[in-house]
Structure formats: C-alpha cells, structure tokens
C-alpha cells in the first residue's frame, strides 16, 4: 500500500490534471462554433485530452525525481503534470504564447521541460528510443537515474516498440516502458488489431518482466511501478508495464466517437478513477478536509496558470526563426 503522503499527492495531481483538461475544453471551442474549424480560436490544432488516464501518470511519477527522464505521447498533459513540468509555462505553450515552454514553437504535442527531463512527441512509439538513450546515459555515468517511456496500446504494434525493448534488454539499461491501454487507437479497437490479449506478455520476447495492471487503479500502478523502478535503479534492467485505463473523451476534441458501442462512455464515466480514489482514501481514513484542500490547491494552480497564459503576450512572428539550431 502506498504511503500516506504519496497517496495524497496522487489524488491532488489527478485532480490537477483533470482540471487542466476541464479548462481546455471551453477554451478550445472558443471561435470554433457554430462551425467547427480546427484552425480557429485561442487553442488551434489537434487537442488530445487525457481524462481517465490519470492513474497511469501519478502511479508511476510518484516514484520519479527531477533527474529521471520521462518521454510521453501525443496525449501528454497528465504525464507532464505528474512529472512536475512547469504548469504556467505548459499552459502558455498550449496557448502559443511567448512564455510557453518553447515560446510557442511546439504546442500541446511537443512539450519539453529540461528542468525535470520531460519530453513528448506526436509520433507514435517515438519516445521509446530516446528513453533508452537517456537510460544508457545514466548507466554510463554511473548514476541511478531511470527513464520512463509512456506509450499507448496502439504503439505496441509499432516496430519502434519492439526494437526499443530488445535494445533496452540487450544493453540492460534502467528504463520502464509503460503502456496506457485505453482500448482504442483513434477508432480501431485494440482487440481488432493486436495479436495478443495482453501486451505485457510481449515482455517475454525481450527477456524482461512484464506486468499487467487491471482496474485503472492508482495504488496498483504505484505498487508495481515502484518495484520496477527500484529494480531499474539497482541496475537490474528494464521492465514493461501494461495498465488497463480508459479514455473518457474522444481521440481528439471534435471526435464524434461513433465507433464506440452504445453506453460505453457512460459506463466508463460511472467508473471515473478520480472520485473512486477519493472514496477509497476516505474509506482508508483520510480526512475529507485534507482531500478538499488538495483539490482546492490543485484547481487554484491550474486556474492561475490559465489566467497567466491567457494574459501573456504572443511571440513576435520573426521569433519563428530562433532555435532551429542550438
């Protein structure tokens, strides 16, 4: 069982992540009604929300330090927030402002925060190779930093997944591969495109431990990830973790989700992991006032980040030419 402060942190961080997405929703549709046009409004482009997947991020990142590396996917907000990416700069980046993480060059799928060694990429399975590299750097320098690559279950059918797992195992580097199985690659269901029922079984092909975690449960993720990360820090090599999670929103905002069976979203929302976790913490003797305060603090931090992001200036257009090269 997780220790008390980590569980409180996981709860507050899940609330923070969910509130971040909650503020994106109305902002995203500003300028996009009555006719939806992705190019319009303060948040142009694709937007991939992480509602429902928060347990994956907090259960793993609770064990990480700033010196550990995390690579995430096109759906990165929950992981970035759990890794401690600067919330103000992250919000500003998504609004395309000068105060953003990259000054507006990357946007929501390309968030980098060097202070906490976080990066993400919009290309499926392309965070795995860099995570192996970061883990090798740690090993070569004799440090005990680990690297974690988050990926979706669809990415487990990508060649990059298999190459990276093999290389990580051959080199015995301190890296974790964390599959967030939300059951869909856009519209294609995992069961229709994956030869194995459980991607964790694929770990056997690369001589590493594979763990399947059902239930979208932060405590369960915390327990398994804690052991896998400790193992990596001891120099015993990589692990694969498959987490059964869910996507409460569409693949991207504006997704009509006609591919979902009737009633699926309602059923998933009824099992929302955040209120369920609050109930469990209360049942385990946590004080409601402490949980309320964690919620209030989390929401206040996000509110402040969004207010600052909206108020911030846009970069000068000519700054597009900066940072192409170091």
């Amino acid at each position: 069982m997780s220790n008390r402060s980590d569980r409180l942190w996981m709860y507050g961080t899940m609330v923070k992540s969910r509130h971040f997405e909650a503020l994106i929703k109305p902002a995203y549709f500003e300028g996009k009604t009555p006719v939806f046009n992705m190019a319009k409004g303060p948040l142009p482009g694709e937007m991939h929300l992480s509602d429902g997947q928060e347990p994956c991020a907090v259960g793993v990142c609770a064990h990480l330090r700033p010196g550990d590396t995390v690579t995430a996917t096109h759906r990165p907000h929950h992981v970035a927030i759990a890794k401690g990416v600067n919330l103000d700069a992250m919000a500003a980046e998504i609004f395309g402002k000068a105060t953003g993480l990259s000054g507006g060059r990357g946007g929501h799928m390309h968030l980098f925060d060097a202070h906490v060694n976080f990066a993400c990429s919009g290309i499926i399975a392309q965070g795995l190779g860099p995570a192996v590299g970061a883990a090798l750097a740690s090993k070569l320098r004799g440090e005990d930093h680990v690297a974690v690559a988050f990926l979706g279950e669809g990415a487990a059918n990508q060649g990059a997944f298999h190459e990276a797992l093999n290389l990580a195992s051959v080199w015995k580097v301190p890296v974790l591969f964390v599959i967030e199985d939300n059951a869909y690659g856009i519209s294609v269901a995992k069961r229709d495109c994956t030869a194995v029922a459980r991607n964790a079984d694929r770990a056997a092909a690369y001589a590493m431990p594979g763990h399947f975690i059902p239930g979208n449960d932060p405590d369960a993720v915390y327990a398994v990830a804690g052991e896998a990360i400790a193992r990596a820090r001891r120099g015993e090599g990589p692990s694969l973790i498959e987490i059964e999670t869910c996507r409460l929103e569409g693949h991207f905002m504006g997704d009509a989700e006609a591919y979902r069976p009737a009633g699926e979203v309602e059923r998933l929302k009824a099992a929302d992991p955040i209120p369920a976790y609050r109930d469990r913490l209360l049942a385990d003797g946590f004080d409601a006032a402490d949980l309320d305060k964690a919620e209030t603090d989390a929401r206040a931090a996000v509110d402040a980040a969004f207010a600052a992001a909206r108020a911030a200036a846009y970069p000068q257009p000519e700054e597009a030419f900066d940072h192409v090269f170091a």
Binding site: T69, G100, F112, S121, I123, P130, L167, W171, D322, H323
Partner: protein, 345 residues
C-alpha cells in the same frame, strides 16, 4: 581542399584515407571528451564496414564502442536521448539508403529537439553514413540523397572530399551542438575492396584541428568558369578543369564540404569573378544541390555570361549494370563537355 604543399609542418607527410581520418578523429575526440561514444552496426570488432571505427573497440572498450542490433529506429532514437542527456553520441548507419526505417528519429526527433524545446534541449549527435555508387551495387546501396537531408531544417549535412577535410570536419561535427549527418563517399573512402580516387588520400595533421561546418573551399583557382561540387564530384570537376586548361579555359573548382549550412557567399564570389556556373553532384537532379546553387547565384542578381547549368544523376533509380550506371553518373567527360557549351556557346 588541402594539398600536401599547403601543409608546412616540418614532418613527413602522411597518406591518410578518409576512413583512417574519420577513425582518427573519433578516437582523438573520445580521448578528449568522455561524453563521446560510438554505436552502430558492425562498428565494434569489424571496425565499421567502411573503416570509420577501426581500432576504437580495442582502445575504448565495449561500453563506449557499441555494436547495435539491426534496429535503426531504436539506436538512432537512443542517440537522440543520449544527446538530450548531455552525451555526444556518434551513430553509424552504413548506407544512406537504409535511412528509410528510421526517418522519424532523424527528421521528427533529432532535427526538432532544439526548436520544439525553445533551445532548452540540444541534440549534439553525429550520424555518419556512406553514400554513392559507381561500383555496381544498384539502387538500394548507391544513392547519395544529399538534398533529401539538406532539405530538412535542423540538420547539418557534411560531405568531405579528402582525408584532411574529413578529419577536421568530423572533429567539428562531434563538437557541434546540433545533429550532423556526416556523409562519406564510397569512391573516396579508401577501402581495399573498393576503388578509391587517389586524390582523396591526403596528408593531415596528427593533432587537433577543425574544418568549420558551412565553409566551402576553393579546390582550384580559375577565372573563366566556376565548377561547384561536393565529395566525389569535386574530383571529377578537378579532372575536367585540367582538360579545360589544355583547351585554354581556366576553371575554378569549389568544394562545398557541407550543404547545410551552405556557403552561398563563396559560390557567389567565384561566379562574380567568372560569370559562368556549372554545378555538379551525383544525387538525383530535380530539387537538388545544383538547383540550390544556381538559385543562390541567380537570386543574388549576379550577371552571367551564359545560362548556368547543372549535372547530376538523372531522375531514375541508380541502375545496376555498369553500362547503364556509368551512362547516368556524372564524370569528368560530362563536366568538361557541359563546361564547353557554357564557355563556347
């Protein structure tokens, strides 16, 4: 391009192949900087299929000289992660024709790491690879693809024509904070099993020196026409220039040495002098280096005495049979003939 006459050090001249020059540069930089490591296919015990890592495993051990599985996406992606973590990886991928499987790691990760991080995270890595045909290896082992990589923002692209430059360019490439694609031409590499243009085997200082990236060299001075090349085509251009001289024409030959950054100013200064331009490379013609060179001169409004021309590989796959391959590859005869149409229209 340097010739033995320009080396003034009081020591016997060495005769270095480009392969030896590259492995010497990497070894010296590994001694100087513990963050440097090499990885790729057959770069350990074999010392690189093209001799670029000869002796490094014995000297530095398997931690810093890492044979990889045939998993280009993984190990080039790993190089990006190593670079982001403060290491200076050198990755070799044998043939540029093999880059298809790992383009994401190159043009979506490495090339954009600085930009998408707003300069927070750099990507100091070298990706070295062989290019070029002329020896009957057909179209999946003979391409050059200079322009393909020169076209992608965030990448530097280097192509040496001789051993002196290869060593200095490699030292500069490893120290550069950006991803550098280092392309060595098989016809210049100095492998015993592959013919080598002898002029590419040169002297080079034993110690530390850099040839800056983005600075072209005047390989031969002349006044009537500017021949612009890179890698192997520099040698074809020099051979053509020697023939043109016998016909009373003075050709200047420019060795670009890198195409990203591209030293447009050296080309423009030469054409301002000669008023005539012929660009030569062995990549596919359309949208290529020659087009970029001609555009750079024309956009600068430099008056020309005749229409500029380019010679390149035509827009077809590289064919196998020598009668076809040599028919389509640029050579000194084709350059001299094209130059005469410019000089004597």
């Amino acid at each position: 391009m340097s010739s033995p006459e320009t080396i003034t050090a009081p020591r016997p001249a060495r005769r270095l192949t480009i392969a030896r020059a590259i492995s010497e540069a990497i070894g010296q930089e590994m001694e100087r900087d513990p963050a440097v490591l090499v990885m790729g296919e057959d770069i350990g015990k074999l010392g690189g299929v093209f001799g670029t890592t000869t002796g490094l495993l014995e000297k530095f051990g398997a931690e810093r000289v890492r044979d990889t599985p045939i998993s280009e996406t993984a190990f080039i992606g790993a190089a990006v992660g190593l670079a982001a973590s403060g290491m200076r990886p050198i990755a070799e991928l044998m043939f540029v024709d093999f880059f298809g499987v790992c383009m994401d790691a190159i043009y979506n990760l490495a090339a954009k790491q600085s930009y998408f991080s707003g300069g927070q995270v750099t990507c100091p890595m070298v990706l070295m690879t062989s290019v070029g045909g002329g020896y009957g290896d057909a179209g999946q082992h003979s391409q050059t693809l200079y322009a393909t990589f020169g076209h992608l923002p965030g990448l530097k692209v280097v192509i040496p024509s001789n051993a002196h430059d290869a060593k200095g360019l490699m030292l500069a490439a490893i120290r550069d904070p950006n991803p550098v694609i280092f392309m060595y031409h098989k016809a210049l590499q100095g492998m015993g099993w592959l013919g080598t243009v002898q002029r590419s085997i040169t002297d080079a200082p034993e110690g530390d020196y850099v040839v800056p990236l983005g600075k072209a060299a005047i390989a031969r001075e002349g006044s009537d026409i500017t021949l612009v090349g890179l890698g192997l085509s520099v040698h074809h251009a020099l051979d053509a220039a020697a023939r043109l001289e016998k016909q009373g024409h003075s050709a200047e030959v420019i060795d670009l040495r890198s195409i990203a950054p591209l030293d447009r100013e050296t080309v423009r200064a030469s054409v301002r002098k000669t008023g005539r331009l012929l660009a030569v490379d062995d990549d596919y013609m359309s949208y290529g280096v020659g087009a970029e060179i001609i555009a750079s001169v024309c956009e600068a409004g430099i008056p020309l005495r005749a229409a500029p021309r380019r010679i390149a590989h035509p827009d077809i796959p590289v064919p196998f049979t020598p009668v076809m391959e040599h028919f389509v590859l640029p050579d000194a005869d084709k350059i001299a003939a094209a130059a005469l149409t410019i000089l004597e229209p």
